[in-house]
Amino acid sequence: MNWVGRRLPRSEDPPLLRGEGRYVPDIAIGARVVRFLRSPVASGRITALRPPAEMPPGCLFVTGADLAEVQPIKPGLRRFNYRAVEQPVLPIERVHFVGQAIAAIVAPGAALAEDLLEACELDIAAEDPVIGFDAALAPDAALVHPIAPGNVAVEGELRPEAFAETLASAAHMVEFAFRSGRQSAMPLEGRGGVAEYDRATGRIRLSASAQMPHQLRTGIAQLLGMPEADLQVIAPDVGGGFGQKMALFPEYPVLVWLARKHRGRFAWVEDRNENLIASAHSRDQRHVLRAGFDAEGRLLALEADILADVGAFSVFPTTCAVEPLMALAEYPGPYKVPAYAVRTRGVLTHTCPMAPYRGVSRPVITFGIERVMDRAAAALGLAPDEIRRRNLHDVFPARSATGMVLDEASYIQALDEAVHILDIPAFRARQAAARAQGRYLGLGLSVFNERTGYGTPAFAARSMDVVPGYEVVDIAMLPSGEVEARIGSSPHGQGLRTTLSQIIADRLGLDPGHIRIIHGDTDRTPYGWGSFASRSLVIGGGACQVAADKLADKLRRGAARLLQCEPSDVTLRDGNAVAGAASMPIAELARLAHQRSELLSDAIGFNLAETGQYDPGGTFSNACHAAIVEVEAETGHVRVERYLVVEDAGRIINPMIADGQVQGGVAQGIANALFEEVIYAPDGTPLTGTLADYTPPTCAEIPEIEIHHLETISDATITGAKGLGEGGSIGAPAAIANAISDALSPFGVDVAEFPATPPRIRALVRGRAPRA
């Protein structure tokens, strides 16, 4: 029985659907309530900070002065002119963005905590903040941090010799300047943690809504100077992360400090306003592209100038280089780019810090290059699919302009498949008929690759002080024959308990129901990196496969001893170890291995435990997205009529879960394209602190998403699987923008800013008459 490839229902779901999941707020019940006093101004000096005049019993007021022994958060990067900006856990002198935590109030109950928060005395001598690229990069700009001249925290540049000549020699040049609005990852569950002191052991248990529990543990122990062994971090059920919950936020060390100092149990659960203004933002970028094509539409040279607003600090462990460097490394995407020059800068401003968010820059660079393809196609009289076909890599392995190895993929096949399904000639006829009635339909394509499952070498190339990558899995069969796999990955909605059990089940000949995946607890899992960067199924899954194969070997050796044959004669299937006509239940073998070890120990030792490690170089999944939209010219409203994804993520372990990943990603991508934007007033006040103002779409705005899978099996991963967690969000903004631009082509305008909100679309077409 093959479990891989089946639409196995998620074992995670029944308790979640019954409302019986256990999230941080469930664990917080009964703990003392922590609320944070947050800065109302973007930049300034703290001149007074005092607790409420009356502090009832059991209440505490904690400031940066109390945390004098606590180190600042200071992620490192050893290249790219990186300026090691420090973030105090709670600031003593200065504030750097609206929403920055300044002090903590602790009270026995939530209502009292809220009342006390209002009664704190805080005075800040406000100064003019640095908001936006133009202000930050102005020659006389104030510095957000003195350590970063020109407000540039990180800078990378690649410029091959004779690039300018190559670009100048192109028959046709496309210049494209565009803007990507700032977004919030907006997980359904915000951040939160409960820190509890254990009087019996002196240890602290921190339950946190986090993606990287081991990193949180190491990072907090370092900041607090406490024994790492005395801190246990648990990521319980986590309601989404999308990258936002990778960071070591200041609130967590405060909780652990409180629990240690006051030997109690302290909980902080943020509200939506805190999540929107004070967690992390992303995608606030401005790019200028110049692309030279030959007369046949082949890209000869690409030049990119990239600005990423990284906010006021650099988050641990990824650093504020994560967006600028991702954009630098991956701009050419799936295309053959013979000459590539790029300059990328991470710009500091007095705003909420940037952290990774599903796709990390790739939604932005895909928007850039895909809009360039459409502009070039229009200028050269080529169909959008044809210009892409002429430029996509089609011989593998290929090497990208930045030296990355592109493994076997289906760039052209995915495009062809999408074009075939769409029936473009029929659409063009419908589009023409609609235009005759003053209705504007458009079709947009977006072709991209998605680097996934990259291990230590890829991260080491970035030169971060903390280099993620590998995963370790400890697997053990119990005397009952059930299997426990302890993983360093930390799923928070991805369904890894289901998919990893499918992988292991096939290797051990067991039913997935007999396999337990243990995760999110630093006491019970091997050191690992958690879940992000579309890595867990590839790397954690690969480590599961390695571990399970080693365990399978052991089981075969044990069975061979008992069945009196060679290990190579033994097959594990359907719960049995089978050798020709002889067989025995694997559960019986497990019982004997533990409880009658005298029969087996010289063949297999005294346990059925193994460790698997995996650290792949990385693989590229790929996809073609296509959107059909209708734009209402008189209001600027965009309706997404159809959304198609042809996705190739190699071997699909569970198609239902893969589809869910794509659907969720596309929904966030459409949100990015049309709806969501974090907006700051010129004085640095965030204006989008509620869901009425930061406007994520609802199910009414997101269409059915049609998904087709291709399965190119490359040898880049041992399972054949490629990651696909981010692709949906990567492809959608470009597909939507290209569709809107196609729809509005009679007006002679196109989209160069997203989200493409109705007022922005009206601003494009206002005063312009459509030509027939």
Binding site: G109, A110, A111, E114, D115, E118, D271, N273, E634, T635, G636, H637, F675, I679, L687, T688, A692, D693, T695, P697, T698, A700, E701, T757, P758, P759, R762, A763, R766
Partner: protein, 285 residues
């Protein structure tokens, strides 16, 4: 627990409720559906010391035709109007409007009168009340008074209601047989506060428009009548060109405000489109 502390009273009779309101005056707020009040309390923008919860007063839960009017009690929920509350074009218009108010769970809780008392500039019922010449029946411990819709709205979240008073009922006149209604709004997302809306009522008599009323909502501090456009339509046959001109007139004369979601000029464009759509709906009904 986010709100500032408050006392919660849940009287069983209207008299008891009015006595509480009289006693606590400006300190008190009426709690009906709570869909606007409670969120503003959670942000501590509203911090009433006393909530008079009227949900147990069964006598306030009515939507009834009485003579030539429709009486809407203080506990009538938005959802009550999703199917026509009264036969004919009025019920059809109210049903059309109701479907644009937030989302189903909110419509099960929020009330028609609560919307008028809260007076959010983007409230569908507020613009509707203005277009339909509603009368507000205010009760207080020592009596009743009525306020016409045109005198009711006094700016953002501000009405003619005085401390100690409660909006007991809204009265809508039943329209003439030749009356037709229309409604259109533009919102970024289903159920969002509209960036602009138009509610239209008119009579088609002998091929011409009579007594047109056009209320605009979502564009400024309070719903307003598009009087110039209304005048333009009077006694004219409703040709497509006339409707366009009326829509353009409404847009030209309104005073849209700018906010995060819409520059003023964009709102003005939306007004034209929404008035046009609402008028077309009305004349083709």
């Amino acid at each position: 627990m986010k709100p500032a502390s408050f006392a919660h009273h849940a009287p069983l009779t209207l008299e008891e409720a009015l006595a509480l309101l009289a006693r606590h005056g400006e300190e008190a707020r009426v709690l009906a559906g709570g869909q606007s009040l409670v969120p503003t309390m959670a942000f501590r923008m509203a911090r009433p010391a006393v909530l008079v919860d009227i949900n147990r007063i069964a006598a306030l839960d009515h939507v009834t035709v009485e003579g030539s009017v429709l009486r809407i009690g203080a506990l009538a929920r938005h959802a009550r109007f999703e199917t026509p509350a009264v036969a004919g074009p009025l019920g059809a218009l109210l049903a059309r409007v109701a479907h644009h108010i937030a989302h189903p769970p909110l419509r099960l809780r929020g009330t028609f009168c609560g919307s008028l008392a809260h007076a959010d500039p983007a409230s569908e019922w507020c613009a509707t009340a203005l277009a339909l010449e509603a009368r507000m029946v205010l009760a207080r411990a020592d009596g009743l008074r009525e306020v016409a819709a045109e005198d009711w709205f006094q700016g953002v979240f501000s009405t003619a209601m005085a401390p100690g008073e409660m909006l007991r009922e809204v009265v809508l006149p039943l329209p003439a047989p030749a009356w037709r209604g229309g409604f259109a709004e533009f919102a970024r997302r289903a159920g969002d506060f509209a960036l602009a809306m138009a509610v239209v009522g008119l009579r088609l008599e002998g091929g011409v428009v009579r007594g047109a009323r056009i209320a605009l909502g979502g564009i400024g501090g309070q719903p307003v009548l598009a009087r110039e456009a209304m005048a333009l339509l009077e006694s004219q046959p409703p040709s497509p060109a006339l409707l366009e001109e009326a829509a353009a007139t409404a847009a030209r004369h309104c005073d849209p405000q700018e906010d995060l979601h819409a520059p003023a000029e964009y709102r003005r464009e939306l007004v034209a489109v929404m008035v046009k759509r609402a008028l077309r709906q009305a004349v083709s009904a």
